[in-house]
Amino acid sequence: MEIAVLVKPVPDAETRLRPDASGQELDPEGVKWVAAGYDESAIEQALLLRESAPGTTVRAFSYGPIARAEEVLRSAIALGCDAATSVEAPPGTPPDGLAVARALGLAVARHPASLVLCGKQAGDDESGIVGPAVAELLGLPDFGVAVNVRWEGGIERLSIQRSVEGGLEGVRVTLPALVSLQQAWNDPRTAKLPNILKSRKAPIERIPVADVAAAIAPSASLLARRVAFRLPPPRTGAKMIEYSSPDDAAQKLVRILREEAKVFP
């Protein structure tokens, strides 16, 4: 049983983002790259499935500039993934979900898996394209917004809980399939220190960049190009309320909301 997990490098939430000189991209200087949050849920889900199905192996895949991709793959290995494949982004490729899906699709096809897991979207561009697009390219059924995935009587079938409007939906799926995760029902684990040390020396397979470029080429004319990358304008107008007691603070706040902000009459 093989499980593939797709992991996107995104800037750490504490990174101070700023545009580069071109005004079209994030300035990568000093950015720490970490696995996207929902992708961490996908890793955790893959490891839990492996724990309940001995003999299963989990391979993590990441697309991007090589150093970035390998950094998040090392953290995936530290968490417990068995193997990793980095998919180098050909320089100048637009940051388009379809390009990423074609690249990752190529890599996953070289390591056939019964189950492909990924986050439902990444915390940087929030576009949510890659999972469904990889499923389409590999001809897999796609189940999105899963919150819990379990084996259903053996390793041929999965029972999936999906988050839907107002509640949860239960789905039973015969593999192969692609499942994209929302927040896992249990928190992603923390890597153990000895595993971090081992992960730094673990081999990471590389897909040659020429192969990646060839895989993306059929969609070249379709890819969205980023026109500008700007920070939101600085927020202004914060107002500190001086008060003598909680009651006083509440009264002043209500007065401001009513008379100045005119939030309610």
């Binding site: 950094e71 923390t190 220190l193 000895p194 971090i196 040390l197 730094r200």
Partner: protein, 382 residues
Amino acid sequence: MVDFSLTGEQASLRDMARKFARTEMAPHAAECDRTNRFPEEIYRKAWELGLMNLNVPTEYGGTGLSLFDQCLIVEELGRACAGMTTSIIANCLALEPIILGGTEEQKTRLLGSFCASYNLASFCLTEPSGGSDAGSLKTRARRDGDHYVLDGEKCFITNAPFASLYTVFATLDPSLRHKGIVAFAVPRDTEGVTPGKEEEKMGHRASATSTVRFEGARVPVANRLGKEDEGFSVAMRTLDQTRTPIGALATGIAQAALDHAAEYSQRRVTFGKPISEHQAIQIKLADMAQALNAARLLTWQAAWTIDQGERGSLESSMAKCFASDAAMMVADEAIQVFGGYGYMKEYPVEKLLRDAKLTQIYEGSNEIQRIVIARELLQRLS
């Protein structure tokens, strides 16, 4: 050439420790401080993640980190809660005499159990009548066949109420001074070994501290660490290894104090602008940042020196002494930046001052550190 950048491995160790500190330790720091609670569930989790026993070599099941890497981790833990950090790293201190003085058989037998499961150990050197003057300790060891019989009392022993093993220093004959001191590994369940009640401390309240009494405690000769006259040397070499991480812990406290002060200074408005725009506060922040940076660099240099295989007494004493003084200064100034709020327990900075104070005292008081520094300095000059 000199290079202050961390390797990818070091950065990931630091980040892992930072994450643990933030998510597991920091949320409970104020509560444990208030209630004097020993949060064993946090220590157990630290053990599970490999954050305890950092100094135990890999051949005995430990992670065998360099002292530099240990310091990176300890600083991050210290930033979240100094008391918890003291309890987490107490095993390093207690097990170091076994690493330095133990035989292969002792290392395999004694260290292995700490790496295989969660267990605490305590380093028992200080006595009610003195800590700095270790040469005149009073706990007696008497040879009796294939055992030694221990009698005496140790005090201010970290983790003692919860430990399963004590590394104990006792004298065969007080008149021999340093030459009479022997080191032992003493299981807690040895008859005649009794930890006392937990002390109420000013700071480091998430850590447990008590006395340990030895009354006719019979310890097999197989548990003697080193030769009969080597105990003092084992103790001193242990402290040479563990002093530098105290510098890292103090650096963590200073970093926390600066973080809080800098953040608060940008929120707090007086005379129509954030206090961070007043020069009086800027000068404080600048002085705090300089002390912090110098503390970290001295700690890094000491760790690096020892990792090169040198004893590093001078460097580690400088690191421990300077960083702990810096932590006191920075925590003190952080309270001043917070003004009246800083004096309130509702805010996090007064705890930092109480926690910082101990780093000037334990693992060799700063007065002793200065004596060591001067002695080493003068020796090198002569």
